[in-house]
């Protein structure tokens, strides 16, 4: 592994994105619009807005980064550039960490923008420290990046890659405690939700929304989310084969 190659890869991914201003506008603009819509929708129910606001701050980057990464990586596989890269001295983790770094930068921008809008003009209240809210949201984005890199190995077309959103992301959304608190889930489903990484990300955000205390439980949830992202990244490295049939 070489940091210079990771950095070059991150810069390359960001440059590709820079050539696609519409995607940047959508990445940054859509979450802001949705948050404004939510604020309007819950105009009469401020306590619900506060409960949902922080978790949504983390969900936007998770979902968008999952989609953007899986499609970008799939393109890399289909165009032959991945095979070319794997004939060069670049390490598999150099490549994947480069992707992670690039999308972490984009996620950081996205989260900062949506947070500034939500916590400022839209008046969403978050009890916990704002810096921590942003950090957890970026870690969630990285989880989305890592899962996106992993599932791209199982798709051969962009249509298939996009179908992994309902297949991989929606079940985690349904069981992460946002619809029904995790402790009130039917027994088997609660056990399943314990195995899904998004559950820990949302637990962290839900507690940050409600309490200003940074508890050990919060730290554990953040660590589990980051650990899951790392495991997914290593599994994704395992799907990169230098030799194929």
């Amino acid at each position: 592994m070489r940091p210079s190659r990771t950095l070059a890869t991150a810069l390359r991914v960001l440059t590709q994105l820079r050539h696609d201003p519409r995607t940047i506008a959508l990445l940054l603009g859509v979450p802001c619009l949705l948050m404004a819509l939510l604020r309007w929708l819950l105009d009469e129910r401020p306590e619900q807005l506060d409960a949902l606001g922080a978790p949504l701050l983390a969900l936007f980057p998770f979902i968008t980064m999952f989609l953007v990464t899986s499609v970008t990586m799939l393109r890399e596989r289909v165009s032959g550039t991945l095979e070319r890269l794997l004939t060069t001295p670049i390490g598999k983790l150099d490549l994947l960490l480069g992707y992670g770094l690039a999308f972490a930068v984009v996620a950081g921008l996205q989260v900062s923008l949506v947070s500034a809008l939500s916590l400022g003009p839209l008046g969403v209240d978050v009890a916990g420290p704002v810096a921590l809210v942003v950090l957890v949201a970026v870690i969630d984005a990285l989880l989305g990046v890592a899962l996106g890199l992993l599932v791209s190995a199982f798709a051969t077309t962009e249509f298939q890659a996009i179908q992994f959103l309902p297949a991989i992301v929606f079940p985690q959304l349904m069981l992460c405690g946002l619809l029904i608190p995790r402790r009130e889930l039917p027994g088997t489903l609660e056990a399943v939700s314990d195995l899904l990484p998004l559950s820990y990300a949302m637990d962290a955000m839900i507690s940050l929304a409600a309490s200003s205390e940074v508890t050990g439980g919060l730290r554990d949830n953040i660590a589990v989310t980051a650990g899951a992202a790392l495991v997914a990244l290593i599994l994704a490295a395992g799907t990169l084969r230098r030799r194929s049939a």
Partner: protein, 242 residues
Amino acid sequence: MIEAAVAVEGLRVVRGHRPVLDHLTFSIPPGSVTGLLGPSGGGKTTLLRSIVGVQRVTAGTVRVLGRPAGDAQLRGRVAYMTQAPSVYGDLTVEENLAYFAAVLGAARPRVQEVSEQVGLTGQRRALVGRLSGGQRARVSLATALLGRPELLVLDEPTVGLDPVLRRDLWNLFHDLAAAGTTLLISSHVMDEAARCDRLLLLRDGALLADDRPAALLQQTGAGDLEGAFLALVESLGRARVT
């Protein structure tokens, strides 16, 4: 004796249940231009991939620059240009080259040098996705040249190029060979065969010939290499019938 740049022995690749390459044995001397010719679907790309080390092989050995093909130590020394240009369509020519230069650890001035070598200096700031097919192929070729590889494996590098550019690129290939680079170049255009030092004729996964162009003409008594190729195919057909 000088060690061969590429030594293939008993190479066999089976895909599905069909042998794509069947017991190939040959070697390629260093500092030469070897042409790999034959009809499409005959196994040319599979053979190139086996030499680069990205192909899973069923049996046999492939040694490149004294090491097993695909060895980690070879990654900076062998460059491969695939048939479909494998470069980023959403980056400019210069951004593509700069990225691959960083990956290969090539010095930054190489970007300018290889752009000149393939005649793309005028398009340096153009998005690759907006270039013509022939220009895109040259970006891909430039990328392969970046790291000054000892072995250059090119899959149909001159498809879609006009005669002037084709001549310029073949001159470049011979300059590189004169400087010690080994080149293995596939083509299905027979008039390019005459420009090679050696020829490998591959058909249905088997080698029909491995010789110098002049020797092939002499052996078959044909007037040109296309005729020589046909004569070899036909003599093989007769041998199978009898």
